[in-house]
Each structure stands twice: as C-alpha cells, then as structure tokens.
C-alpha cells in the first residue's frame, strides 16, 4: 500500500486530493509564504503608529481607508502589518516547538527501548505523569516560576507533546529491535546511535511525520492560548493570540482587532487538522475514521 503511494508522482497525489484538502494545502501554503516573506509583503512596520488614524475599520466598511486595508488598532497600528508579523512569529514558535518536541521525544523513546530495565520504568512513569497533567497548567507553572523570555517560551512549547513521540517511538523501536535488519546491523557492529538513527529511524519516519503534522496545530493552539492570556509572546513582539487578547477589550468599538486574527487561527488550525487526518488515513488505512 505504502509503496504504491510513493510511486505516484507529486502531481497525481495533488490531483487525487479531496477538495477540502486542496483548500487546506492552499491556505497552509499561503501562511508559509506570508511567514517567510513577511518583511517584503508587509505594508508598514508592525510597530509603526499612525496616531491620526486610530481604530479605523477595514476597507469594506464605511470609514475604511485604502492606506489601512484591515483597519488600525487603538494605537493606530496597521492590523494587516500586525497580522503578517503575528503569522510569522506564531508559525516560527510552532515549528520550533514541534521540531524540539519530536527530537526530544524520539531520543527519549529510543533510550527507553535501548536501556530497558529501570530506565524504561522511569521514562514510562514520566510519560504517564506528563499525559496526566494538562500541559497548559504545567506551562503556566513553569512561566510563573521562571519568568518569561522568548527563548524559555519556545523551549516550553518544545516540551509540549514529547510524551506522544516517546510512547510511539519506544513501542516501534522495541519491535524493530527484533527485526532482521536491526539484528543484522547490530551484528555487523553498528553503534547504538548509528543503529537507532540510521537504521531504525528511517523505518518509522512516516509515523513520526504524521504525529508532527497533528502536533503542529496543537502547538499553535497552546501558543496562541498562552499569548491570549498575556503569558506567552510578550510585547513588543506580537502573536495571533496576543492580538486577540488585546482586541478583546475593543470588541464593542473595534471588533476587527480581535476577529481577524481569530479567523486566521481558526482557518490555520482547521487546515492542519484536515491535512493531518488525511495524511494519517493515507499512510495507515486501518486507522480510517478513528
């Protein structure tokens, strides 16, 4: 099944995507484009204030103006420019968080499978512990105890979801160790690092990638939620969650400040979960619909 899937050209894969997935891919591509080229497409610097034009509505409303397509906020900052910068920051944090989480979780999973015994027990207890306590509460505690900085915040986001990778990788590595190719590599004298990362890892790459696709939107949600509470990304930096949080105070007079980033969060998260589900069904048809 999998080989059949891989033999198809990229073009065919795209053609055969359901309509909703095509839209999702299109939206994600747009977001990535905006994130990569934020500096070139932004109409203004995201911190630039236009004090004469504060709380101006978007262009399609009566008082809207061409110089501020999506309106301005309470300090006269251009909402479009802030959205573009926010997408850049939110995507960066989610990407860094996902990569850190995958690396950390995979390494821990390998360690559990390799050392077995008490190391395995301790890691399993840690996995259960992490899965038992809601991550948002744990993140809040860490941020309360250590204070907030951008680097610490990215690391906290990286910790999110490590236990999912660790659990999956541990299970797969345990069964892979009994397979012929792993035994052969071991007999030929491959070091444990080489065995796990050169031989076993490529064989479970698809599962890890699916988990990353599902983990990425969750990381976006945790980041934007914390930023919404004012405890994530700190001003003068901006994230989609920050914008909604600040805009909450202006819902009565200037709804666009909160609503536009809220819609961006919703569409991005929806696009990623649709893609992640589709990906998972493609790679493992037995899981379909669960």
């Amino acid at each position: 099944m999998e080989q059949h899937f891989e033999k198809k050209s990229w073009w065919n894969t795209i053609i055969e995507m359901p309509f909703s997935i095509k839209i999702a891919v299109l939206w994600i591509s747009l977001m990535i484009f905006v994130g990569l080229f934020a500096n070139f497409i932004t109409p203004y610097d995201y911190q630039e204030m236009d004090l004469l034009n504060r709380l101006k509505p978007p262009i399609w409303m009566e008082e809207g103006m061409w110089t501020h397509l999506l309106g301005t906020d309470d300090l006269g900052r251009d909402v479009l420019a802030r959205i573009i910068e926010s997408i850049r920051i939110s995507l960066f944090v989610a990407l860094a968080g996902t990569l850190i989480g995958a690396t950390l979780g995979t390494s821990i999973g390998f360690a559990a499978a390799h050392f077995k015994g008490w190391v395995d027990h301790v890691i399993m207890i840690l996995i259960d512990f992490q899965a038992a306590v809601p991550f948002l509460i744990l993140a809040l505690a860490v941020l309360a105890f250590f204070g907030n900085s951008f680097l610490l915040f990215v690391i906290v986001m990286g910790i999110y979801g490590w236990e999912q990778y660790a659990r999956i990788v541990r299970g797969l590595a345990l069964s892979a160790n009994t397979h012929g190719y792993a035994v052969a590599a071991k007999t030929l004298g491959a070091s444990p690092i080489r065995l796990y990362f050169r031989h076993i890892l490529p064989n479970m790459a698809s599962v890890i990638i699916v988990n990353m696709t599902l983990n990425f939107p969750e990381t976006i949600l945790v980041e934007t939620s914390l930023s919404f509470l004012g405890l994530g990304i700190q001003a003068p930096m901006t994230s989609l969650g920050n914008m909604v949080g600040f805009g909450r105070d202006y819902l009565l007079s200037a709804w666009w400040i909160a609503l536009i980033p809220a819609i961006v969060i919703f569409l991005t998260s929806l696009a990623f979960s649709l893609l992640g589900d589709w990906f998972r069904d493609k790679l493992d048809p037995t899981l379909k619909g669960t």
Binding site: A132, V133, L136, F228, L251, F266
Partner: protein
C-alpha cells in the same frame, strides 16, 4: 478487577502525586531565590534575611523539603503574598464557580456529543453523517478563546442578548458554558461515532439480528452498552481538557473561578497560589484516571480475567 490490581493502581497513584509534589518543589527551588524574586535585588539585606526566616528559606534544602511535605499533608499551602491570606482559603472560595461551570459543561458536552456521534454512526455515509462530522472537525479546531470571542461578538455585541463578563445571574452562565462545550462535544462526537461503528460491525450484532431482534432492539440492548465502554476511557483526557478550557474561558468572560486566579497569580508571581493550584489539578487528574481505570475494569468483564 481484583483487589490486588486495584491496590497496585492506588499505590501508583500515590507515587504520581508524590512525584508531582516533588517536581513542583524542585522547579520552585530551581527558579532562583524567592526572597530576591519577591522583594527585588535593591532591597535592604536585613529585609531579605527576615523574609527568608519567615518562609523558612534559611534552612537546608532537605529540611525545607520535609517541612514542605509535612505542611502539605496538613493542608497547609502557605500564604498568598498578595493579601497575606492562607492560600487554601483563597483557592477554595473560588472553587464552586469553576465546578459549576464544569458541571454544566459536562452535561451539555455529553448530551450533544454522544447523541451526535451515535446519530452519525447509525446514519453512516449519509449527508447527515458528513455534516455532523464536518461540524465536529471544525469545532475541534477552534481554540476556546476564539469560540469565546465569536460568541461575545454575536450574542453580546450584535444581538445584545447575553452578558459577557461576570457570573452574577443564570444568564451569565450561557456563553462560558457554550464556549467550553464546543471543542469537547466535538471530541465525544468523533469518539462515540467510531466506537459505535466498531460495535455495529461486530459479530454479536449479526447474532442479535439472526435470533430475531429488531434493528432498534439490537442497537439498544447490544450496541449501545458495548459502545459505552470505550467512551469511558476518554474520561481522564476529558477532565484534563476541561481544566485547561476553564482556565482560558474564565479569563475570556472575567469569571471569578480558579482559572482566573491561576492566570492572575502567574502574572503577579504569587508562587504559593500557583503551586497549590498545580497540585490540586494534579491530584484531581490522578484520582480521575484511577476512577476511570477501576470503572473500566468493573464495566468490561473481559478485563477481569486478565487481571
């Protein structure tokens, strides 16, 4: 489930709580000198010394750790730096508001989610199924604060039907409860649909039909009870999500509960309160998971033999 396996689970639960409590202590100590954090670097050294003595920070780490453990077993979580009141009192007075929110949300979530899931499963691959699951995927992708903002805009700003902050009247409950129920109803819908589909295609359903039961009788007597077993297993995840959802929702709607207190305390670095809430959440989760395990073993006879 046998007595010994329940006993092992209880011991593991205690161990997890112990791990959590120790983790909180270590993190708290790793984060630097609490005296300097609370009072600042520029303060008079005698004030720092007095602060350390008052909170027992001048003793050795082990002594601090043991007195911390002993205090916890007596329900003593220390004093909130703000207002100088016992932390336990500060937290407990806010508990009823949060529990009320969670209770109402749970009723709504289960009602809508499970009904929708079963309905979708019974009408598999029809337009109704696809629409239900489409709504479920969409609402699952909505973070709580975004739902809250949408609801405030629609019912608070445009229609002006419902209040959007505070908790004084029954009407104040509507928007926060709807906010919290959205994502979790979606989870229950997806989960109960797949649980139901699995049961519907199992051999005992064919047997039930073969021995002459009507389709509706077979669904009611055989499919529903069996489908309810896996639904119980997501109880633990559900409680965890509810706690996170309450934390965010309370801050959207200025709801005076534990979640609002937590965020306020993190902002003010009122560490004793944060520590108490984290431990409270952890203990709640451990007890929930324990109960789910026991309930699962009790309801599903197949697990009895294995244990």
């Amino acid at each position: 489930m046998s007595i010994t396996s329940i006993g092992i689970r209880i011991i593991r639960a205690f161990f997890t709580v112990f791990l959590l409590v120790t983790f909180v202590f270590v993190i708290l100590r790793l984060s630097g000198d609490p005296a300097i954090q609370m009072l600042g670097i520029d303060v008079d050294p005698s004030a720092l010394a007095a602060f350390r003595e008052r909170w027992g920070l001048d003793k050795s780490l082990w002594e601090q750790y043991f007195s911390y453990l002993i205090n916890l077993t007596q329900g003593d979580f220390g004093y909130s730096f703000i207002g100088d009141r016992p932390v336990w009192d500060v937290v407990v007075e806010r508990l009823p508001k949060t529990l009320a929110l969670m209770g109402l949300t749970t009723i709504l979530t289960l009602g809508i989610g499970i009904t929708a899931g079963i309905y979708a499963a019974l009408n598999r691959n029809t337009a109704a199924d696809r629409i239900t699951m489409g709504i479920s995927v969409a609402s699952f992708s909505l973070p709580n604060f975004v739902v809250g903002i949408f609801l405030i805009l629609i019912f608070g700003v445009m229609l002006r039907w419902l209040p959007t902050s505070g908790s004084e009247t029954a009407l104040h409950y509507v928007l926060p409860v709807l906010t919290m129920a959205t994502a979790d109803a979606a989870i229950f819908a997806r989960f109960s649909r797949s649980a139901m589909l699995e049961v519907l295609s199992s051999p005992f359903m064919r047997t039930a039909r073969a021995k002459g039961l009507l389709w509706s009788q077979a669904v009611r007597r055989h499919a529903l009870p069996n489908a309810s077993i896996p639904i119980i297993t997501i109880g633990g995840i559900y409680v965890g999500r509810q706690i996170a959802a309450a934390t965010i929702t309370e801050n959207v709607f200025a709801w005076p509960g534990i979640g609002q207190l937590l965020v306020l305390s993190v902002e003010n670095r009122d560490l004793a309160v944060v520590q108490c809430i984290v431990i409270l959440v952890g203990v709640t989760m451990v007890i929930t998971n324990l109960l789910v395990d026991i309930a699962y073993g009790w309801i599903d006879p197949r697990t009895k033999k294995e244990a």
